[in-house]
Symmetry: C2
């Protein structure tokens, strides 16, 4: 159902997924006088206790999904790995934003790369790998080092295998479960950046300043804004994100991760990945910009006007992974540090427990 109901304060937003992104979306919705209903298979998820309502049920529980849809005015999601069938089922009952089509596209690395490449936007060399034979042919074409990735359900480095000279291709393919994959050429990038942006239901497009991302063990460690890139590159990064959002007829916040690559003709940008949701590299906007990515996403999916993306000044956002969170008291003491904790009780290694934004002016 895509009929555009005019939403207003008091409206109810359904959020599929109950993690920290859902929590921060629900908190942003509350600022605007909106209430949220979380749908998640997991109990004890961070979003539940800040939302007016929660349904704990499996993604294929159609009775629960129907009741959930019935109770809300619009549905959105906080992560992209929900089953396409769930989104399509919900869309028959209530508007789902961004659309299930976007979800389906970004759930498959191959489909996503084909889509970006067809827009004339450069991506890393890639090849479809459905079996060990295809992997051998892909390696012959793309070379090594290269990275074998499952087409679906990878995140934070999960579902990836690095292929170096001498790596056993069959072992690598089996290590990912033998599922449909793609081989990506290794890109000798000088920096990783991301554009977090929003597109409204009326087509308005607004991006925050480009952030520069550092990863640690495949998990985002810090985002520094502004990224140390030229104005020209910044402009091109924004333009790429805009073209992607427009081609998807996107409504909501999205993030586009890019590699900065030095070349004979100066620096260029390759698109690495599209995230059809609020994104970790946009967390700094909670404290460092006039409008946060979370509020902006809520505004967009409700059909409200978008807010200013102006930054207050330079910032660094640092993720608190696992035990990092034990430094919370020390972080609270640092001038200009804005601490966010997600209310997770157990600090497992690799688990995102919170983040801190350092406002540098």
């Amino acid at each position: 159902m895509n009929t555009d109901r005019a939403l207003a304060p008091g409206a109810r937003i359904g959020i599929v997924g109950g993690g920290q992104l859902g929590r921060m979306l629900a908190l942003a919705a509350a600022r605007l006088g909106l209430s949220c209903h979380i749908f998640t298979p997991g109990a004890d998820e961070p979003a539940i206790e800040v939302a007016a309502r929660a349904t704990l049920a499996a993604y294929d529980d159609q009775q629960a999904l129907a009741r959930f849809a019935d109770s809300v005015d619009v549905v959105t999601y906080e992560f992209e790995n929900i089953p396409a069938a769930t989104a399509e089922f919900l869309q028959k009952l209530k508007p789902v934003r961004p659309s299930p089509r976007v979800l389906a596209l970004t759930q498959d690395r191959l489909v996503e790369k084909d889509f970006v490449a067809k827009l004339g936007i450069e991506v890393a060399p890639y090849a479809q790998v459905d079996d060990p034979g295809a992997l051998a042919r892909a390696v012959a074409r793309i070379g090594r080092p290269s990275i074998l990735k499952t087409r679906r359900f990878g995140y934070d480095g999960k579902g990836q295998a690095l292929l170096k000279e001498g790596s056993d291709l069959a072992v690598a393919f089996r290590s990912l479960g033998g599922t449909p994959s793609i081989l990506e050429g290794f890109v000798p990038f000088s920096a990783e950046v991301s554009v977090v942006a929003a597109r409204g239901s009326d087509g308005e497009f607004l991006a925050w300043d480009v952030g520069e991302n550092l990863h640690d063990n495949h998990i985002l460690d810090t985002t520094t804004v502004p990224a140390n890139i030229s104005d020209d590159l910044r402009h091109r990064a924004h333009d790429m994100a805009r073209r992607i959002a427009e081609a998807l007829d996107y409504v909501g916040v999205l993030a586009v991760e890019m590699f900065v690559v030095d070349g004979p003709d100066g620096q260029k940008l390759l698109v690495n990945e599209i995230a059809p949701r609020v994104h970790n590299s946009g967390h700094w906007t909670l404290d460092g910009a006039v409008t946060s990515q979370f509020e902006q996403h809520i505004r967009a999916v409700c059909g409200f006007p978008l807010g200013s993306t102006r930054a207050h000044g330079p910032v660094v956002m640092r993720n608190l992974i696992g035990d990092d969170v034990e430094n919370w008291r020390e972080l609270l003491r640092q001038p200009g540090a804005c601490l966010h904790l997600y209310g997770k009780s157990e600090a497992r290694p690799g688990r995102k427990m919170g983040h801190v934004t350092f406002l540098k002016t």
Copy 2:
């Protein structure tokens, strides 16, 4: 019970009162990974749906109060007119911050003015009025125009009567219900300002920049920061707030409302009122400062270090009273406007429905 338990993220905060201040406190607590339990006599209050838990019970329901206290690690309140007996009952079970002593003091205009005056801080001329005879004597001393106010339970202009030349004193006294009152001399002020500040459990004191307040029909209309006063006056305003907070052994956020009065020796400040809680004139800090008054109050009552009160730049906060809220879509469109709605369904005249902060840089 005043034993200082070391709280940490995961702690549970009890908030007495369920209005918009409680709502914004609960949202700030959630950012820090804390959960809130709201105690309020009213159903359908703004704070309820953003808190992990709510108890709807009367302030004298000791069973409900005991269960509430049992479920939390620390108790605070979002408005000052809760019965002193309620605060004292809770204090026997869990730490209550700020202390019930502060609550008792600020609930009585006469006791509060005596307290401020004894600190050597100037207040408007005032006199105790317990009966019509005392009112006549007070008017003879203080003159007219002057304002008769009930000692207890007044807010937003309620419980006040303006005495002009020719006003019938007996009628005025009866109009306030014949309850113990005070007469306050009319102060020919050039501006109303307020200091919103926090004192930590370790005695650390931090204030935000002074705001200049305009009222409309006795209800705060706008707060402009910084106030248009000299650096010397700003320094004196902060110093008065600090002395008041220290004399109260205050823990949490408080607001001190002051009059700026022009005199032969330049401008001076008179303290008008102390609010022992987060305050409407500090709402701008949600969008305009590194740390909001709501997070700061939560930090203080949990015994956490206080955060930076640095402002991002000049701001104007405007309350949305009654029908004002119907302009929400227009407000969302204005660049630099940060809209907050409190989730109240009915926009009655005089009701605070939300506020908007305009970031001017």
